[in-house]
């Protein structure tokens, strides 16, 4: 066995090389751990959102006209096999007054103990209500009204001429992310709720929780047979379904990020070990000459690699955990989550790091060790640059073409919905591997092409630089591969993110045609259960001079062809240009058809039901269904794109539509500021939410700016890690060529010329990677836009961002040149005489 001292001496004599090796492993492990940690945290948040939106309620029994009904009418529902429980609820929009303060929100009459079965909450102060006359207020409402336990509030509702006094006995806080989007503001007994809703002893909904592993459609069908004519069963999971498209986009981002980190990490570690072993080939050859067997040499290398791997892995796990909060926050910012989420230590991520580090280290050392042991020791000693092996160009190109063909097949099948959506990720990976295999074939023509103009500027430096890069073909290829992988994936992620961000911005620009918005409460993801605006508001608005048009906007839960969606009703006749971002259909024609009672489908919904202009579908709201014709398909980000748009008049003729929940207010330009002030004051007094177009635009711009800033940080961080590969390669070139550099210095090459030679090498390495990376990155962005469900369903069209690409390439080249500075300075500082005698 080769003694440990030999390895230890290597470490001591080459501390920088050791540090670089350990840092490469640590960087790779850190990237994997950080992405897995943050992915787990983000997915956890998504699950929580999904769970809360879905609640535990599988379905609910309601009347077909949204009126109240008697619990006895649905009494036998609980006896149905598969039904775990049925919770009666009375929902009514109410006004809550506390002194001079006023708030509006959903009042829920329910038995709190039963309510626990369908929603998570905690009583933060006081106690649950037990008798009539007692209520619990939602915490934020209590805070807004400045109410504490023991205070009295008065409740009013539409059509109730008097205010009902209630005693606040508890403050209640919904739990979970989605729970805050439950707009219920006040909770009371079922009886009190029914009285407030002017329907004593009645309920508005019977919420049904199923036994686990029960088929909801089957149970729903059974329940329907037992219900009177006026009662219907509706699926209650619409919000969760509507959150799916958003979830799918987030999953695309996380999967691509994980792919980026794993591939980059593998290439960086492989590159480091290739160079580290190549650097020591003469030493290893000497060991073999003095009697070490190839087995001993190989074992010694594996032993060293294992130690480096262990140290790098531990360091990487620590770095990964530390960096995961940053990544998680970035991902959550990008996808618009609110609030900082703490990233708990994920055992799976740690385990992945513990496995990934040592495995990838040992795999990385395998090929160089095999190569070093296969070479004849004497030949290695005589050669100053190690043994050379021919690259199997033909085989690599053939494999590359085969993989590309497979990737194209996968994308096509995915696009045609033949393959599951995760195969898109596999397709992207295949494209990457195919391009990587093709890359070595570009090295020789690429260097010739790129060095040609450089030879005009620096003849000998360019010539020697090119010679050196080609002479170390394997190392050059690996370095180009590392930069290529990082850059192409970064470019594809960057370009796709910009496409999405700009798509959202342009969609907002097209659809937001009002100067101001007034709404009663913040909307939920599916836009359902949004509070209605007070009746008294509209006459008051009409009296304000300067207002030219009020669009009465409402959202109603509906279903088209059995798919849950949100119906958006607007008064479209008040707009000169249609405030809809049409993907399919002529705007003038669509407007006419909308006026005639046709519908516009949101892009995701259109994709789900395979709907196109001219198609007819059955649309159902609260049990009332009609056949409706599709006038057009529009890009929609509201309710995850599961949206139907109708004109107000025709919608009200066909369906029971919710009263207005949002007013879109347009003004004469000269009076916009004054009207805005007036509306702001009304909103303040009535507890409404006021938004100006400028506010919304600024909010979106701020979000997009934050997103792009963070995106740049992540992309540049990836480039910095990749630049290690250039430092590695050029340092190796300096070390290997020390003697020849010495000769060049002796025969008259100046320090600056040596420095310039390495800078030119770095420039060419950068360009060799960046040019194909731009092409492949753009291609992947196109494939992601075209084939990833969740992105493509939104009707997002591919756009190229030349400014982003130029900035990215410029950053890449600058970082490549910066990475070359250290080895180039080292080369320039070589003392000719010492260099000549270097062995």
């Amino acid at each position: 066995m080769i003694p440990w001292r030999f390895s230890w001496n290597n470490v001591r004599q080459r501390p920088l090389r050791t540090l670089l090796t350990i840092l490469s492993i640590a960087g790779g492990v850190a990237a994997v751990v950080a992405v897995l940690q943050s992915a787990a945290a983000t997915r956890g948040q998504l699950d929580s959102l999904h769970q809360t939106l879905a609640s535990r309620v599988a379905m609910e029994v309601v009347t077909d006209d949204t009126s109240a009904f008697s619990l006895e009418d649905a009494a036998n529902v609980t006896d149905q096999p598969g039904v775990h429980s049925a919770i009666p609820v009375f929902r009514v929009f109410a006004k809550i007054l506390a002194g001079s303060e006023e708030a509006r929100g959903l009042a829920i009459g329910v038995d709190l103990e039963q309510y626990r079965e369908i929603r998570d909450f905690e009583i933060v102060s006081g106690r649950p209500y037990l008798a009539t006359g007692e209520v619990c207020l939602e915490a934020s409402v209590a805070e807004r009204l400045n109410v504490t336990v023991g205070d009295e509030v008065r409740l009013g509702a539409r059509g109730v001429p008097w205010l009902l006094p209630k005693k606040v006995v508890g403050i209640l806080k919904p739990l979970g992310i989605g729970a805050v989007e439950e707009t219920a503001s006040v909770f009371m007994t079922l009886a009190d709720g029914a009285i407030l809703g002017k329907a004593p002893r009645k309920i508005t909904s019977l919420q049904i929780v199923l036994e686990s592993e029960t088929e909801p459609d089957r149970v729903a069908a059974q329940i329907r047979t037992r219900l009177p004519q006026n009662l219907i069963v509706v699926k209650a999971a619409s919000a969760a379904e509507m959150a799916r498209p958003t979830e799918e986009i987030i999953n695309v981002g996380l999967n691509v990020a994980a792919l980026l980190s794993v591939i980059s990490a593998i290439f960086i570690v492989v590159n480091t070990f290739q160079i580290s072993v190549a650097e020591r080939q003469r030493q290893l050859a000497l060991l073999r000459i003095v009697g070490a067997t190839t087995e001993q040499v190989r074992k010694s290398m594996y032993r060293e690699a294992f130690v480096f791997g262990a140290v790098g892995t531990l360091l990487g796990i620590i770095m990964g955990i530390a960096g995961s909060s940053f990544v998680a926050q970035g991902v959550q910012d990008i996808f618009g989550f609110v609030g900082t989420v703490k990233v708990a230590i994920q055992p799976r991520a740690i385990l992945a790091g513990l496995v990934f580090g040592p495995v990838i280290t040992l795999l990385s050392v395998w090929q160089p060790a095999r190569q070093a042991c296969a070479a004849a020791p004497l030949a290695v000693l005589k050669s100053t640059s190690g043994p050379r092996r021919g690259f199997p160009f033909r085989r690599s190109i053939q494999t590359s073409i085969a993989l590309l063909a497979l990737a194209i097949l996968m994308f096509t099948c995915n696009w045609l919905d033949i393959f599951p959506k995760w195969t898109s990720i596999l397709g992207v990976t295949l494209v990457q591997i195919a391009c990587l295999l093709f890359l070595p074939s570009l090295i020789k023509p690429g260097t010739t092409l790129l060095f040609a103009p450089l030879r005009r500027i620096s003849t000998i430096e360019a010539r020697l630089g090119q010679q050196q890069l080609l002479d170390n073909f394997g190392r050059t290829s690996l370095t180009v591969a590392v930069l290529f992988v990082v850059s192409s994936i970064s470019i594809s992620i960057g370009n796709t993110t910009l496409i999405l961000a700009n798509d959202v911005t342009s969609w907002l620009d097209r659809t937001l045609s009002s100067d101001f918005l007034l709404r009663a409460s913040s909307p939920r993801v599916d836009m359902s259960e949004t509070d209605i605006l007070p009746d008294t508001l509209e006459p008051r608005l009409a009296a304000i001079p300067g207002i030219t048009f009020i669009d009465r906007i409402s959202f109603t839960v509906a279903s088209v062809d059995g798919v849950a969606a949100t119906l958006l009703v607007r008064q479209l006749e008040g707009y000169e240009s249609l405030p809809i971002d049409l993907l399919d259909g002529d705007p003038d024609e669509v407007r006419e058809k909308l006026m005639a009672g046709e519908i516009v489908l949101g892009s995701v919904l259109a994709h789900r039901i395979q709907g196109k202009p001219g198609d007819v579908f059955r649309m159902e709201i609260s049990g009332i269904s009609h056949e409706v014709r599709v006038a057009g398909v529009a890009k929609e980000y509201t309710a995850g794109g599961l949206m139907i748009i109708m004109n107000s008049e025709s919608a009200q003729q066909l369906f029971p539509i919710q009263p207005p929940q949002v007013y879109g207010i347009r003004t004469v330009r000269s009076a916009t500021a004054e009207v805005g002030e007036e509306l702001r004051s009304i909103a303040r007094n009535q507890g409404l939410i006021f938004q100006s177009l400028a506010d919304l635009r600024e909010l979106v711009q701020r979000l997009v700016l934050g997103l792009t800033n963070r995106l740049w940080m992540i992309l540049i961080l990836a480039l910095v890690i990749a630049a290690f590969a250039i430092v590695n390669t050029l340092t190796m070139n300096v070390l290997e060529q020390t003697r020849h550099l010495g000769v060049l210095r002796v025969v008259g090459m100046s320090r600056f010329q040596v420095f310039r030679m390495f800078l030119l090498q770095a420039l060419v390495l950068g360009l060799l990677s960046m040019i194909p990376a731009v092409i492949v990155g753009v291609l992947m962005a196109f494939l992601i836009t075209a084939s990833f469900r969740g992105v493509s369903e939104q009707g997002v069209t591919f756009t190229l961002y030349p400014t982003f690409l130029s900035y990215y390439v410029a950053c890449g080249i600058i970082l490549s040149l910066s990475a070359a500075a250290l080895p180039a300075i080292r080369a320039g500082r070589l003392k000719p005489l010492e260099a000549i005698h270097e062995e």
Binding site: Q467, Q468, V743, R745, G748, M749
Partner: protein, 251 residues
């Protein structure tokens, strides 16, 4: 005292030249108090046992190693006053180096190795190649222009190295054990070549050697012993040669 304005035919002049290396805190005297003048067109051989400082003296004369004390003038220019770039330019344009281990750039072919100093100096390829061809013809290597160093024998590599040294038309050629890695026949050829360079082209040649056959071709012999110059002259008789060499043998 030696005048700082030497006669016109002097290429190298040193005065009380010393070199001390510090290795791991220990001072090692390479040579001490070397004062000499080397005129144009002279072939000077430096002999001495291993570690006597002869190679170091050659490197100091060539400006690739600074002196610790004393002065050195090249064509009247005091080397200690030149910065790194000026020394580089001096080497590039006025001094040719020949090494025992040839030190050709392995990735460049013969013609590229020879044109290297000219190209480094910004001379266009079209002008550099004829000059290189002329030198390669002189060293009888014009038939192997496209060969890489690894495809040449030791003697051929050394000829190419000499061509590279001569291509700049140097005032001074410094050769460190140029025949050390060659067999006697090839060594003799190289020695004759260097002598011709001095006598026919009037370029000064300084050769460090252990080989008496090389030294015997020189116009002048310097013997260094323990860093001190103990012989400077031209032994013309066997006895004089013996006297010089005995000194060496005794040590």
């Amino acid at each position: 005292m030696i005048s700082s304005n030497p006669p016109q035919n002097i290429v190298i002049r040193t005065a009380n030249l010393s070199k001390v290396f510090v290795r791991e805190g220990v001072e090692v005297q390479a040579f001490d108090d070397v004062t000499l003048e080397i005129p144009h067109g002279q072939m000077l051989a430096i002999m001495g046992p291993s570690g006597s400082g002869k190679s170091t003296l050659l490197h100091v004369i060539g400006g690739i190693e600074p002196a610790s004390a004393g002065e050195i003038w090249f064509d009247g220019r005091q080397l200690s006053t030149l910065n790194d770039l000026e020394l580089t330019l001096l080497r590039r344009r006025r001094i040719g180096f020949v090494f025992q281990s040839f030190n050709l750039v392995p990735t460049l072919d013969v013609i590229d190795n020879v044109t290297l100093p000219l190209i480094l100096d910004g001379i266009p390829q079209r002008d550099a190649v004829p000059r290189a061809l002329e030198c390669l013809t002189r060293v009888e290597m014009s038939h192997r222009l496209q060969h890489l160093p690894s495809q040449l024998s030791g003697g051929e590599q050394q000829r190419v190295a000499i061509a590279r040294a001569l291509v700049i038309n140097p005032a001074l050629v410094l050769a460190d054990e140029p025949t050390g890695n060659l067999d006697s026949a090839k060594g003799r050829d190289i020695t004759h070549l260097l002598r011709d360079v001095a006598h026919e082209d009037h370029q000064t040649v300084v050769v460090v050697t252990h080989d008496i056959r090389v030294a015997s071709q020189a116009d002048r012999l310097i013997v260094l012993l323990d860093g001190h110059m103990c012989f400077d002259g031209k032994p013309s008789t066997d006895a004089e040669w013996m006297a010089a060499l005995r000194l060496e043998i005794d040590t």
